[in-house]
């Protein structure tokens, strides 16, 4: 005889459906990504702007209080980190100054070599990420 599975009934639910905190940790959302941010630590100025703007908790902070790498289990590839990164912005401005008609944004990162070299955060396609940066 099979044992009846131990399921919660409607009577077991908390008032208002309240549950414990931090449950999103168990719900991995990284596979929603279309583009992948890549952190180039050598260009990073450690301003933590990306960490403050990340709508999830996908940018880790090291024990020393420094910017760590991405937690790709939760990064949805929204690109806000790349958009807000002041180093990437500076690079864009420099490029625009050099070529006013270039119409370059941070999203053009993978197509522009100059930007790619100087930017702190790159937004690249999944295909490129897999090939060049070993990101799943």
């Amino acid at each position: 005889m099979t044992k009846k599975p131990d399921i919660k009934t409607w009577k077991d639910l908390n008032v208002g459906g309240i549950i414990e905190s931090g449950t999103s940790e168990h719900f991995k959302t990284g596979d929603w990504r279309v583009k992948v941010p890549v952190w180039q630590s050598q260009n990073c100025i450690q301003c933590m702007t990306c960490w403050a703007f990340c709508p999830d908790n996908a940018i880790k902070v090291t024990d020393e209080g420094k910017r760590g790498n991405y937690d790709y289990n939760f990064c949805k590839g929204c690109g806000i980190c790349a958009e807000e990164c002041p180093v990437s912005k500076k690079v864009i401005n420099e490029i625009k100054k050099a070529a006013p008609n270039a119409n370059i944004t941070s999203w053009d990162a993978e197509t522009n070599q100059t930007f790619k070299e100087k930017a702190s955060i790159l937004m690249v396609s999944i295909k490129d990420a897999k090939e060049k940066y070993n990101i799943k």
Binding site: K8, V15, G16, G17, I18, E20, T23
Partner: protein
């Protein structure tokens, strides 16, 4: 207890009740004909008569959202709105009831657009009848005042924990000056007591998730819980009303039975039309017609058994709906009363009417006509429009 007799409009009466309730937070956006409630209340805030944190927002959607955040943080929370404002709150109303937040909303019934109209009908609140809120319809200023005070207790009762709206008829009650018996502030405070929230989002010692995603596995169970809370409200509402009577001396119930006990012909309606109908009942009784009136005061939860109890011996029933569901069957009140009779195994000749939309006047003579026509009413009559130009 010392009662103060004053002259107040429906809006003033509701604002006074709010002053005496002294909620922790009010977030609201003005809309005709409910604007006055918050306008008067904001002067109470300005004059330091209440300790309420008044949040002025950019829309009703924001108002009810702010109320929800406030209620989830353990604050006693109230708001006021009408018509399009309530409609704009629509999506958040469902969330407030699912999160079991006992927000108290002072509503003033006004027609929904279109065509655009600012006058009374019940289409706004009837549009939210499935939102999981308790709904109470007040006939006059006194009821609006008393029921808003009761509403706090009903909503916050542990077995209920549901948001509640108390409504008055726009302009007919909201802007009409009436005699109002007010109770001392201290007695109101004693009656409503301290609010003990179910949970507190701001308690950092016990962090919680409010409004988590629930998919196919447990959504049904969550609705079943809300169904149970509404059933609990059926038990709790008479208890609170009884306690209110003990303290303040005024009797309330799910319905008001006005001479139904021996009536051959019974009319059912909500709100201010009940006042007009009482005059019609009196005049018809002088002519020898045994007329009765059943006013439905609590519409959510729907007091089916209470209604059947009073109308089951009638020869024929007329139901007045001040809103149109455009199903071509009947308005919401008639449809639900019919369902209640079916469940009780009763089949009674019934005529349903749609009337008073967009603030169209209803007169004693029209209601008397409705009663007189009941004599020849058959079992399956089609819905009729009362007072329509044709």
């Amino acid at each position: 207890m010392e009662k103060t007799i004053v002259a107040r409009t429906g809006n003033e009466a509701m604002a006074e009740a709010m002053r005496q309730i002294n909620p922790d937070v009010c977030a609201a956006y003005p809309i005709t004909p409910a604007t006055e409630i918050m306008q008067i209340f904001s002067s109470f805030v300005n004059d330091g008569l209440v300790k309420t944190n008044l949040i002025t927002v950019e829309s009703e959607h924001s108002a009810i959202s702010a109320c929800m955040g406030s209620a989830a943080s353990g604050a006693r929370t109230m708001t006021a709105t009408s018509s399009q404002g309530l409609a704009l709150m629509h999506e958040i109303l469902y969330i407030a009831s699912a999160l079991r937040l006992p927000i108290v909303l002072a509503e003033v019934n006004r027609a929904l657009s279109g065509p655009i109209n600012i006058h009374c009908d019940h289409s706004d609140t009837m549009g939210e009848r499935d939102a999981g809120w308790i709904q109470i319809y007040a006939e006059n200023s006194q009821e609006a005042y008393d029921l808003l005070i009761n509403a706090v207790r009903i909503a916050e009762h542990r077995d209920v924990s549901l948001p509640i709206m108390v409504s008055t008829d726009g302009f007919i009650i909201s802007h009409e000056m009436e005699r109002l018996e007010m109770y001392p502030d201290s007695e109101i405070q004693k009656f409503i007591g301290e609010y003990k929230p179910n949970y507190n989002l701001l308690n950092i010692d016990n962090p919680i998730t409010v409004g988590s995603l629930v998919l196919t596995d447990y959504y049904l169970e969550h609705k079943r819980v809300q169904h149970e809370a509404m059933k609990n409200a059926m038990k709790v509402i008479p208890e609170i009303f009884a306690e209110f009577k003990k303290v303040f001396g005024r009797q309330y119930d799910f319905v008001e039975n006005y001479k139904c006990d021996d009536a051959d012909y019974i009319l059912i309606c909500l709100g201010s039309t009940a006042g007009t109908s009482k005059v019609a009942v009196e005049e018809l009784r002088q002519e020898g017609i045994k007329a009765g009136l059943l006013k439905i005061r609590v519409f959510r939860p729907f007091p089916a058994e209470e209604i059947v109890k009073y109308i089951s011996k009638a020869k024929a029933i007329a139901i007045l709906d001040r809103s149109e569901s455009l199903s071509t069957q009947a308005g919401p009140v008639a449809t639900e009363v019919k369902a209640a009779l079916y469940d009780a195994g009763k089949i009674i000749p019934m005529q349903s009417y749609v009337y008073g939309l967009g603030g169209r006047e209803i007169y004693v003579d029209q209601i008397k006509d409705v009663y007189r026509k009941l004599k020849n009413t058959k079992i399956s009559e089609q819905v009729k429009y009362l007072g329509v130009k044709e």
